[in-house]
Symmetry: C2
Subunit: 499 residues, 2 copies
């Protein structure tokens, strides 16, 4: 069942609706291979359009709602989108980014009257979403689609270049859905929370497609709201929660302040970064369910490793073991695979890898150099076969002739000083050290910080050469649209700190 507020669909009904939408898109003139931009907040229509694309062989191009106008323009041009489905409230924003209305056959507006087209798009047809599907057949379109035909172009927010379109194939995303259903033990009886943005692969492919593969229900919320999600866990009997560590922290606070029945929860999946051990233990105690870190990237469709509940506490700070379908290895710069314990680039072989970057054969060739997909992350396997993420590969801090993993510093800072909410460890130019390790921190509620106390607590946890030389207290860290800390920007901002 798919639940979106008071609207509920059985999968049978959802399937029929999806087919009607597909026939409606076909009637617009869209054909197999055409790209369709999809700009919407979380709602059932998002998923229905995604699967309608799959059935027609269209390529879905989800628009990140945090993109600036230039990024949106780039994506619409680069993807050669032939039509768009846009929420009424986002229509003006969409049209502002649409430089060439003539590239589109039409815009379908969700929740709008669509009677009056916005200015500046000429005579481009604008159609109401409900009118699109009305009167169409509920039968599956009779279109043969090849295994490796593209299902989506998901644009990654690069920190150094314009977003690149990751070509996701039917085969890759289908296999990912089955593999992650196994990794999460998803069943028909599960009920998954959908609060992270559907335009992001982490929500869309990492969790929603596995739920569909297993027949689990989904409870869609517009976005993260701790109160609403906390209520939904009780009222909708959520069994699988998917959230970021920061959200989990807020839910824990709420549950401690105002206890609800959360006994339906069996698994919380969190993404992006390991949770500090103390925080994880508190969350496990508070919710009484398993916790698993899911780690990956858009190019992997996206799950590459899965941190099993039983390893979370025995190997705190690691990122887990290879996901179903994925081989993980550690590679030296020359292409040689490295043994247990050695640090190198984390590389993957998997039927889940992207087909390539759109219109970018050079970047694609680089990404698959030596026959493996290059994550750009540095890490190592320990003797138990568990993967440790160390840093973005080019982000290792080189200090006094030693390589220091910035994540190790970050984990130590968080563990040492409970008031630290977020931290980025970066290397800044320094006459003596080459790069001086520097901790840029945000504190809980902006509390003041005693740098000496913090640093001496860190020194108890780390070898001296790994300790930060200074602490910079900021109110906010610069981040990309998908929440990655922009370390390059931090390095530029504080380049002269030790000069």
């Amino acid at each position: 069942m798919i639940c979106d507020g008071d609207r509920r669909w059985s999968y049978r009904d959802f399937d029929a609706w999806t087919n009607r939408i597909a026939h409606g898109l076909s009637a617009l003139g869209l054909e197999k291979g055409d790209a369709l931009a999809l700009m919407s907040g979380n709602r059932a229509e998002f998923l229905a359009v995604y699967f309608a694309c799959a059935r027609l062989g269209l390529v879905c191009v989800p628009v990140n709602l945090l993109w600036r106008q230039g990024e949106l323009s780039h994506v619409l041009k680069d993807s050669r989108a032939r039509a768009a489905v846009v929420e009424a409230g986002l229509l003006a924003q969409f049209c502002a980014g649409l430089e060439d209305p003539a590239q589109l056959l039409g815009i379908v507006v969700i929740d709008g009257q669509a009677a009056t087209a916005p200015d500046g798009i000429g005579d481009l047809p604008v159609l109401a979403f409900d009118a699109l599907a009305a009167g169409q057949s509920s039968d599956i379109p009779d279109i043969a689609i090849e295994d490796r035909a593209p299902l989506s172009y998901l644009y990654t927010s690069g920190t150094t270049s314009a977003p690149k379109g990751v070509i996701g194939t039917h085969l890759a995303i289908y296999l990912e859905s089955l593999g992650t259903a196994i990794d999460t033990c998803m069943t028909e009886n599960d009920r998954l929370s959908v609060v992270l943005p559907l335009f992001h692969t982490a929500q869309l492919n990492a969790l929603c497609t596995p739920a569909i593969a297993a027949g689990a229900s989904m409870v869609i919320q517009r976005g993260f709201d701790a109160t609403a999600l906390h209520e939904a866990i009780e009222n909708e009997r959520i069994s699988v929660l998917f959230a970021l560590p920061m959200m989990i922290q807020q839910l824990v606070e709420r549950q401690l302040a105002h206890r609800r029945n959360v006994s339906s929860l069996r698994l919380t999946v969190y993404a992006m970064a390991p949770m500090p051990e103390a925080e994880l233990r508190r969350a496990i105690e508070t919710f009484g369910c398993d916790f698993s870190l899911m780690f990956g990237q858009t190019e992997m469709s996206p799950v590459s490793t899965f941190f099993k509940p039983e390893h979370q506490l025995s190997h705190p700070g690691a990122v887990g073991t290879p996901a179903v379908n994925v081989q993980v290895a550690i590679m030296a710069p020359g292409g040689e695979l490295l043994p247990t314990g050695a640090t190198g680039e984390i590389v993957y072989r998997s039927p889940q890898t992207m087909a390539g970057y759109l219109h970018n054969p050079e970047a694609t060739a680089d990404a698959f150099c030596h026959g493996w997909f290059h994550s750009g992350d540095a890490g190592h396997f320990d003797a138990d076969g568990i993967l440790w993420f160390e840093d973005r590969f080019k982000d290792v801090i080189k200090t006094g002739g030693e390589n220091v993993s910035s994540i190790e510093v970050e984990l130590a800072v968080r563990a040492a000083y409970p008031d630290v909410l977020e931290v980025a460890a970066i290397g800044l130019p320094h006459q003596r050290w080459g790069e001086a390790i520097t901790a840029v921190v945000v504190t809980q509620d902006g509390r003041s910080i005693d740098a000496d106390t913090l640093l001496s607590a860190v020194r108890e946890r780390l070898s001296p050469f790994k300790c930060p030389k200074a602490v910079i207290h900021v109110s906010e860290l610069p981040k990309t649209a998908t929440g990655k800390i922009e370390k390059a920007k931090l390095r530029r901002t504080y380049a002269a700190y030790y000069q």
Copy 2:
């Protein structure tokens, strides 16, 4: 972990062993695309050779140990096997079926000294299995294999023609392993019993490959022995049991006579045919675990539907809902898909279907006519979306102008008369009825049977026109090597019964 008696392998060790075997097979001169005959009882080497084939791109041809010599000869010729791995105890039987020793590069003998080659195979090299892998590399062979490259030719024991080689592809079998892992909720914590023959797809692909996909352990036994299996459930803490209904019945008897700790069981999967409701209820009560019928055929790699535990008792006698990866429909002879409730041929669309029958384009084209794979089974979907198997498509009994599903008669006979162990309902030529429904039965321990009592009990359960006109009591039903009742043979034997 893979357990075979006292021998135990972690998957890491098993993986390394498999690679050494693969390199050994490669050293024999085998190359991608070559077929390898595998003739062995259940043992870890069987699985290791199967996966070694997968890594080299060889095509594994498991030999059914119940084949007669002519069938073995046909399969060795038809598959163009280039080498064989054979258990020492089966070597004479293998060589008797090998008409042209020159087709092979060599024979590898499991558990044998292999010093002296058997007579009649000329100077064909014979090698001990342990020598094959000795000194070989544990690294995975560096061989690229296409998605749809064949992994196996599994020969189906036709009742009307020579066995046909079903071409199973890497993609089909891989997807089946993931799909069935989801359907059975298999996890790393599971321990699967392996007592059905590994040469049969039901054990090999339906259950063993999903166990590997999920990282579950396997406990291999040589074959079904109720005492040994009953003991193993307790001693090896089996959590997923895979057996035929007849075996389950024996296990229930044993457990009632001699109670063991079977609390580790969470799921019993049974194959081939629905269990009568009373038997199923008794088994559920005795073992306190879920029961699921798995239904399929070699051409589907093999699982096509899965009878979920929650439907077993609400829809007794049905066969379940479509498995993950599989679309199921009901087709009229002209290719039209039929609505809910209508009886027709059960057809499948799935990435799990075979690539075709080896050297048999006509049979392949027939099997995929109208774009769906034709099961040869008749059935219908009920309003709950649950599939009911009615009969082999051409096996429906036509009596007095009505079509009667023989399975319906069989279920009624079993339910009506507890002493009936097995029953085949067939139509025999009859002046008045065209075909007269006739029940051929085997009783528990050969007990005598009162035909009138049986028939009047059946009449309480079935419409009059569906009731058997007579009961034939036999000590044994004729069966194919894989346990299918040979109804055609029964019909021939009793053709003159009503004349």
